[in-house]
Structures are given as C-alpha cells and as structure tokens.
C-alpha cells in the first residue's frame, strides 16, 4: 500500500493571504478566487519560501490578486507585468517570480511581452486568468471573447475571432504551456504546480468566469451554471444544451499542452558572462549550443 500524503489537509490558504486585505474585492461567483487558491496551494506543495516568492501582476481584476498574497508583490502597469518580471528575475535569480495577468492585460496591451517572454525562456511562471472580458472597466470585449458574445462594446455581438492563448504561446516558443478551468481545483493546482516547477518560461491559461458582468450580459446563468459549462467542455454528454462557442468547445484541450527542454535564458546568460570573466571567449549563443549538446 502506498502512503498518500493528504496535502489538502495540510494546506491552509490563510497562511498565504494578507488578512489585512480581507475581505477581497472580487464579485460573487468570480472564478479568480478559485485560481488564486489553486496557485497558493501549488506554492504550498512545492514548499516555496514566501520570502523568496515575488508575484508581479498587471491591471484588471486578475492584476488585483497580487495584493492578497503574503509575499513580495508588485502591482505594475497595464500589460507590462511580464516585462517587469523579466527585469526582476534576471536581476534576482534567487527569487521565484510568478506573473498574474488577465486576458486583456496579457494578450491585448501586453501581447508583445508575452510572445517575447515565450521566446526568451527566462524562468517565470505566467498565470493568465481568462474570463473573456475586461471586467474591471465594465465588461468590454477582450481578445479572448468568443464570437457572437455580447459585451458593453459589442452590442451587436462580437464579430472578431478570439485568440487561442495556448496556441499563441506554443507558437511563440514557450517551453511549457497548459490550460485548465476553475471547475477542477486539484487538477488546476497540479497544472500550476507543474508550471512552477518547470525550469523555464511556463504559460498557464486558467479558464475563469466573470459571472456578474459577462455572465449576466450573455444570460449564462449563475456561477455554478457557468462553472458547469466549463465542465461540459470536457464532458459534453452531460450538458448538451450548453451555449456552444469555438473557445468553449468540447474539444478544448486542457492539461499540459506543450513541454520541451530548452536552455533557460538567465542561466545561459550568466554562464556565458562567467566564462567571459574567466577569460574565455564565449558568447550566449555558444553557451546555449553547448548546453543543448550536453
């Protein structure tokens, strides 16, 4: 018989939250709190020291989450958390740097930083909470809003195709890409944990629900109903009557979607720099090639 450690019993989310910031400001039914819990659970399981944990977040509902975490937290400008985190992680390789961002923050105003972070492969974990909408500003269309959806700026229904963030990250060269919904917290925790443990850039898309604004506008029902639609993406037979959209189609893949071994940028740079200091003529490119050969 295998001894199973019930990690859930050991994990008390309150150990990782700033109590002085409670109550939080999230709307009833919002999925972001579930995502936050899954992140903190994964951090707990990996035994990451809170003093060595740096959380960088952008602007929007997802961006506000960093303030609730008992760690070194940085709430920066709209769209730029990955760029701030790049500087922080390069300057302080001893820190564990996590980025929390939303679909608008990460894919619209910050889209350029995402693709280059994927390409660069610096050790960072990027958690993109996708609720298909700009919630903080009142429910405008975002790059992941499904086609035909109503938002405060698509009164006729969204006619723009949406981004598949995971496909984008993989195409840009991310060495770890995964997706999970807030419907399944242990599974989401496992995915985030794998991302945190990945020795390079990890992109994790979390399907979250904006019930108060996006759900209400599109008559998607209560929070449990919206969560069950996430579930129906995986088990379509249970909820055939779900509102079918390309993004929430039952073929939407979840779990770890991409995982490759690639030289981590910070380590490769420091190795080349150390070699230069040691008087060897080495460049970052050469170090990367050597690493790949080894």
């Amino acid at each position: 018989m295998t001894m199973m450690v019930d990690s859930a019993a050991e994990f008390d989310v309150r150990d990782y939250l700033r109590k002085e910031m409670m109550p939080h400001f999230l709307c009833p039914g919002c999925g972001h709190g579930i995502a936050l819990r899954a992140l903190l659970w994964a951090i707990h399981e990996l035994g990451i020291d809170k003093d060595k944990l740096a959380v960088v977040s952008g602007i929007g509902c997802a961006g506000r989450l960093s303030a609730y975490i008992d760690a070194n937290t940085f709430h920066v400008t709209h769209g730029r958390p990955l760029a701030y985190a790049t500087g922080l992680a390069l300057a302080r390789p001893d820190l564990h740097v996590v980025v929390i961002t939303g679909d608008g923050d990460c894919l619209a105003i910050g889209g350029n930083h995402l693709i280059h972070a994927c390409r660069r492969n610096l050790k960072l974990t990027c958690l993109m909470l996708n609720n298909e909408v700009y919630g903080m500003t009142g429910g405008q269309v975002s790059p992941t809003t499904s086609e035909t959806r109503l938002t405060s700026t698509t009164p006729l229904g969204n006619a723009e195709p949406h981004f598949d963030a995971c496909a984008l990250a993989a195409a840009a060269g991310a060495s770890f890409v995964g997706r999970e919904g807030t419907r399944h917290v242990p599974r989401l925790k496992e995915l985030i944990r794998a991302g945190l443990a990945h020795p390079g850039f990890a992109f994790v898309e979390v399907l979250s629900d904006c019930t108060e604004i996006f759900g209400r506008k599109n008559e998607l029902g209560s929070s449990p109903e919206m969560i069950m639609r996430q579930k129906s993406d995986l088990r379509p037979s249970a909820y055939r009557d779900t509102v079918d959209t390309p993004f929430r189609a039952n073929t939407l893949p979840t779990g770890v979607l991409t995982k490759t071994e690639r030289a981590e940028y910070g380590a490769a740079y420091r190795k080349a720099a150390a070699a230069q200091r040691a008087g060897k003529a080495a460049k970052v490119g050469a170090a990367t090639r050597n690493r790949e050969k080894a």
């Binding site: 700033r18 002085e20 910031m21 809170k50 003093d51 060595k52 740096a54 960088v56 960093s66 303030a67 008992d70 760690a71 070194n72 937290t73 940085f74 709430h75 920066v76 400008t77 730029r80 760029a83 701030y84 985190a85 790049t86 500087g87 922080l88 992680a89 390069l90 300057a91 302080r92 001893d94 820190l95 350029n112 930083h113 693709i115 280059h116 740079y269 080349a272 720099a273 230069q276 200091r277």
Partner: protein, 391 residues
C-alpha cells in the same frame, strides 16, 4: 598618435571617449548592474557598450522587445535591489513615460538616458535638438517629482551619470540624464581617475522588525526605506495611490498626506540635487541661460562678445529639474537682460521667464537640426546690451 595615446596607461586615466561611451563607463562605476534597452539612434552606443561591460562585472544586459518593456524591466530589476539603467531617444522616451510615472509614484530608483534628437515624432534621428526639456519634467500623467540632469560635455556625462545613480538611490526616484545628439556622439578626452570617489550611494534599506515596517513611512528626510525582496518584509508595491503601509487607498486624507510627501520629498535634498555653473557672470550685462550644446556655443560666445565690448555671461543649469531657481535669480540680479539659446521652439525660455518675472528675457529658438552658433549668440547679446544701455 596624439599625446594622450602615447602616455602609459598606468600613469593616467585619460581616455578618448564619446558621450555615450562615457555614460556606459559612468554607469558601471556608479554600481549599475542591470541595463535593458531597445535600439534607437542616437543612444544605441550606450546599450552596445554596456552589453560588453556588464557581463564583466557580474551584471546583466538585456535587449528587450520594445521601449516600454525596457523601462519596465529596469524598474523590475531595481525592485529587486539592483541599480538599473535604460537609454533611449525622443520616440522611445515618449513610450516610456507611463512607466517613468510608475517609478516616480512607487519610488523605485532608476536612471533613464534620453539623447535628444529632432522631433516631433520620428523627427530627425541623426540631428540634435533640445526639444524634450519640458517632456522630461512633465511627460507622464498626474503630479510627480523627477530629477533631470543636463550634462554639456563628455566628461560631464561621466560625472553626471555617477551623480544620477547617487540621486536616484538616495532620493528613491527616477533620474533622467538629458543630453543632445552632439554631446552624445562627440568624442573628447576625459580623465576618469579624479571622479571615482563620487558614485557609490546606496538606497536606504529597511532594517528592524518586519511587523512594524511601513514601506512608505518616512522620517525627517522624507525618503522611505525600501525593503529588499527576500529580506523578510513581504510588502506590496503598486502604482495605485497608496497609504504608508503600501496598500491602495482612496481615503482623501491618506492620499493627500502620502502624495503631498512625495511631491515635496526633494525639498530637504536640494543641496545635493541642485547643480549649476556660472561663467563670467560677475560683471555681465547680458547672461545666457543654456544647456548642452547650446551652452557650449554660449561659452565660446562669451569670448567673442567680450572682445567686442559686450559683457556676456553664462548661467548653465546642470540639474535642469528641479530648476535651480534661487541660483538663477541671484546670478542674474544685476544683469540687464537674459538670453536663452535653445534648440526647440521655446521651452527653457518659458521656465526662465517664469522664474525671473518682469526681467527682459530674449531667446534664440532653433529647430532645424543645426546647432546655434557662438556668433549668433554674441550678436544677439550685443543687441540686448545696446537695448539695455539705451534705457
């Protein structure tokens, strides 16, 4: 080979350097260990030099995907406790403004080099201008304090880069090094040895129990002690208006108190911040007020004017913002007129007019990419002197 080249390296620190190269050397000497940038004429040499220099001192150089990412990465590195620099020119400086405001508001030390070229928009990338004098002070939204240094020679770029890092650290603020394309790419002989003691100020780090630490509480000097990630303080940093505890607040009293402290935090540090140079001002009837290459022209104009019987002097702000207004008032008290030669359509002259009230202020405004010549300044000074004498 000239005399400098023949000197044994062990006996001298004389170097033939461009302004941008001097900036890179000054940054390393000041303890800068992180650079993030994006290629842009005429500042790219700062990045190129530092891409070689920083790995030698266990620092990090990174070329980011755009101008905004560059300043963001610099602020991120400084949040981690590492002295950080970025360098850009007009269009890039415009793009960086929102995040410069973040650094000012969250009080994250960093240094931004802006090599001024012709504008607006893409303007004239290889031609000099001084069109960012106002933008360097007011470019980001809202009310915020910032320090801007305006060196006028290669040697001074080196020394002011050292001072920029010192002021950024001690005052917890972004500092802009503002110089024009001529000074940036001009090559001059610089002696580095005699400036080495200058740059090594460190920011005030939090000490004591974490439970009672308030990240934006200050003592007498108005500058909060910063906590280094990993040191056990676990604080929150935000661009939202925040209270002493670092968390967002909309409480009018807390905002007024904390923003009020931010906006006046340089007041007790003006002795270290303010810097200016005066040349031949004691008996001057006309005093030129200029920075950068225009100040170099004005320096030469003093000789030309005085040879023609016109007593011209020069007041040169080295710290451009906050403007050394007290020094300007005192220096120009006895002068009949003030002349502001500047390579823009009228920026420094506005500030000089504001400070000097009813005094006669004339200006030479040039924005065609050609530097203002010493002869032009001397000529205008002669007209102003004549005008003054006839009164």
């Amino acid at each position: 080979m000239n005399a400098v080249d023949k000197m044994p390296r062990a006996q001298t620190r004389l170097r033939l350097l461009s302004g941008n190269h001097a900036c890179a050397l000054g940054a390393v000497a000041a303890g800068c260990r992180f650079f993030a940038g994006y290629p842009i004429t005429p500042s790219s040499e700062v990045a190129e030099r530092l891409s070689r220099l920083l790995p030698e001192v266990d620092g990090v150089f990174v070329q980011m995907e755009d101008e905004i990412a560059s300043i963001a990465a610099v602020i991120g590195a400084s949040m981690g406790g590492v002295k950080a620099l970025t360098a850009t020119s007009g269009p890039g400086f415009s793009l960086k403004q929102e995040n410069i405001g973040y650094a000012a508001g969250a009080e994250i030390p960093c240094v931004i080099v802006n090599v001024m070229r012709g504008g607006p928009s893409t303007g004239m990338p290889t031609r000099p201008a001084q069109g960012d004098i106002m933008q360097s002070r007011w470019g980001s939204h809202g009310d915020y304090p910032i320090i801007v240094l305006a060196p006028a020679s290669v040697r001074e770029i080196y020394t002011e880069t050292l001072r920029a890092f010192d002021l950024a650290e001690t005052c917890r603020t972004p500092v802009v090094l503002l110089y024009d394309q001529v000074i940036a790419q001009l090559t001059e002989t610089v002696e580095l040895a005699d400036h080495h003691g200058a740059g090594h100020a460190e920011r005030k780090w939090a000490s004591g129990p974490s439970a009672s630490y308030q990240p934006y509480a200050t003592g007498e000097d108005g500058i909060p002690a910063m906590s280094r990630p990993g040191a056990g303080y676990r604080v929150h940093t935000t661009g939202l208006n925040h209270a002493e505890n670092g968390f967002p607040t909309q409480n009018p009293e807390a905002v007024a108190r904390n923003l009020g402290r931010l906006l006046t935090k340089f007041d007790r540090h003006r002795a270290a911040i303010d810097s200016w140079e005066t040349l031949a001002c004691e008996d001057a009837e006309v005093i030129a007020v200029a920075i950068g290459i225009s100040a170099r022209a004005a320096t030469r104009a003093i000789d030309i004017a005085r040879a023609n019987g016109v007593r011209l002097g020069l007041f040169r702000p080295i710290t451009l913002w906050p403007f050394p207004e007290q020094a300007l008032r005192e220096t120009t008290k006895k002068a009949r007129a003030v002349l502001v030669p500047e390579m823009n359509a009228g920026q420094l002259s506005l500030e000089v007019e504001r400070i000097l009230g009813g005094k006669r202020v004339d200006a030479i405004h040039r924005y065609n990419g050609e530097p203002i010549t010493p002869e032009e300044i001397a000529q205008r000074a002669a007209s102003l002197a004549k005008e003054g004498r006839s009164k």
